[in-house]
């Protein structure tokens, strides 16, 4: 029997550009052409002013650690506890859930407000997940 796998996202028409982006090594956000609001998760209109004129752009991939838990139990399929489930605030404004790699999963190492940068982890040939690591320098 195969090892239990971590949950795999299944794109929808509204989110496909995001997952195409991560596969190409880009973190893509959307900006409203009318009011300049930057938002996440993806949708083909602005949740701030309701304009349907929005553009996809490549985000900087920079952000900081907004908050997290270190999950011990129960562990999700495909995860070995303890592991941090983090929320990252991106330089462009939106926040997203993620994991923090290349960093001990401890309260001492995971300091709130630490600078992070995006990295990409391929789950299979269709889905690549954006994750974050402590920023260099």
């Amino acid at each position: 029997m195969a090892e239990p796998q971590r949950a795999r996202p299944k794109p929808t028409p509204e989110t496909q550009h995001f997952w195409d982006g991560t596969k190409a090594g880009e973190l893509r956000l959307q900006r409203c052409d009318a009011c300049a609001h930057v938002y996440f998760p993806p949708r083909p209109f602005c949740p701030s002013c309701a304009s349907r004129k929005v553009s996809v752009f490549k985000a900087s991939g920079k952000g900081f650690l907004y908050s997290y838990v270190i999950n011990h139990r129960p562990a999700a399929p495909g995860f070995t506890p303890p592991y941090a489930i983090a929320v990252v605030e991106l330089a462009e404004g939106p926040r997203m859930m993620s994991n923090i790699i290349d960093c001990p999963q401890t309260p001492e190492a995971l300091e709130l407000d630490m600078k992070l940068e995006v990295a990409f982890e391929a789950l299979d040939d269709k889905i690549t997940l954006p994750v974050f690591r402590p920023a260099k320098g």
Partner: protein
């Protein structure tokens, strides 16, 4: 909505609470409903309005043999029943129905006749949260806690004291699941679930249910129990994704629902004799005290740690022991409402002397939704 026009005239929990391996979730609904009907001195055929969550109204109505002319299946998580109370009060006032039955039941521990919760892979949660290892409420609900602590200078010891104080209340309640006294050290040494939270800062997982019966205040005088009036109500939703809350320093849904209910009731915080804040996890009373405007968020941890919410304190909070020590079947809002009604009737196991106004504040999902009810026993 006008205040004190509608009253609770029947209220009961399931005959047993805790581990109930001999009843399906649907039968737990019926057990709670039959107890509430008996409490109100009514027959099921008197019920013309019905509300429930998770199970559909048609499922429970057919099982009970109820033929309603008004139904509400609002299902926004554990505070759904606060929203049902609000909607039922509006419906009764509008003349859509006369006697509303609200039921909750959950086979949360025994999992008999209960559909498992799942996150579809193509939902926004399935795409943007589930892949990062969230697995049930303990891995999600505490995610805002570290930011909240840093912003307001809240300590781990203060967050542990929430569980300690609520155990003091539970010790007075024969139906509470956990009654043995605990200390801050016990909490901080209990096994880690999702840092910063340990076992004793997470709610219980039990079986049970509860039901309420509402009617107009004018009719309420003819019932066997002391009427408990709906003085004010509020509700809101924010987001099903905890990662997408506007801020982790407060809950937008709390800050909308709570003040709405206070304004409708026309009360100030000093008027509140008894308070319930849905405590699925230990940080919720702190969010609630701040977001409902009882005090600045900075003071909430110290307020609880200093004993102000314990038995004999100036603001009795979660007097049944709460979701941390009384019971938590998964959607605890109904049990918070039951305790507010008991306090207003003057029959709670840990009765607050001369309590006249009770505020009952609920959360749904991980800060996804909120409902607040202000009760009074004086019209």
């Amino acid at each position: 909505m006008r205040k004190n026009q509608v009253a609770v005239v029947g209220a009961a929990e399931t005959t047993e609470l805790g581990v109930i391996p001999n009843m399906s979730q649907l039968q737990l609904h019926a057990d709670a409903a039959l107890n509430a009907i008996a409490d109100a001195g009514l027959k099921l055929s008197d019920v013309d309005g019905f509300a429930t969550a998770v199970e559909t109204p048609q499922q429970v109505c057919h099982y009970l043999g109820i033929k309603p002319t008004w139904v509400d299946g609002t299902s926004v998580g554990g505070c759904s029943f606060m929203l049902h109370v609000r909607h039922a009060a509006a419906a009764i006032e509008a003349g859509l129905c006369k006697t509303v039955l609200i039921t909750h039941a959950e086979s949360g521990k025994s999992m008999i006749g209960k559909a498992p919760r799942s996150i579809p892979a193509d939902s926004l949660q399935g795409q943007f949260e589930a892949p990062y290892g969230v697995f049930g409420p303990p891995s999600m609900f505490p995610i805002p806690v570290l930011r909240f602590m840093k912003t307001y200078g809240i300590t781990h010891e203060q967050l542990a004291s929430v569980a300690v104080v609520q155990r003091e209340w539970a010790a007075k309640n024969p139906r509470a699941m956990m009654k043995d006294p605990i200390t801050v050290a016990d909490v901080l040494n209990s096994r880690m679930i999702a840092y910063p939270f340990r076992l004793l800062q997470c709610c219980l997982v039990t079986d049970g249910g509860g039901a309420l019966i509402l009617t107009s205040a004018d009719r309420a005088r003819d019932f066997p129990r002391k009427p408990v009036y709906i003085m004010g109500t509020g509700e809101s939703v924010e987001t099903p994704m905890v990662s997408q809350m506007e801020t982790f320093n407060s809950s937008r849904a709390f800050k909308t629902a709570g003040p709405l209910a206070f304004r409708e009731a026309g009360i100030a915080h000093g008027d509140v004799d008894h308070l319930m804040i849905y405590d699925a996890f230990a940080h919720l009373p702190l969010f609630g005290l701040g977001d409902l405007g009882f005090m600045p968020h900075e003071e909430t941890g110290k307020f609880i740690a200093d004993g102000n919410t314990r038995p004999g304190g100036k603001l009795p909070l979660n007097t049944n022991g709460g979701g941390l020590s009384y019971m938590h079947s998964g959607m605890y809002g109904m049990y918070a409402l039951q305790e507010s009604v008991r306090q207003m009737r003057g029959i709670a196991p840990a009765q607050v002397p001369n309590a006249r106004i009770s505020v009952c504040h609920g959360v749904g999902g991980m800060f996804a939704a909120s409902g607040t009810i202000v009760f009074t026993n004086e019209r």
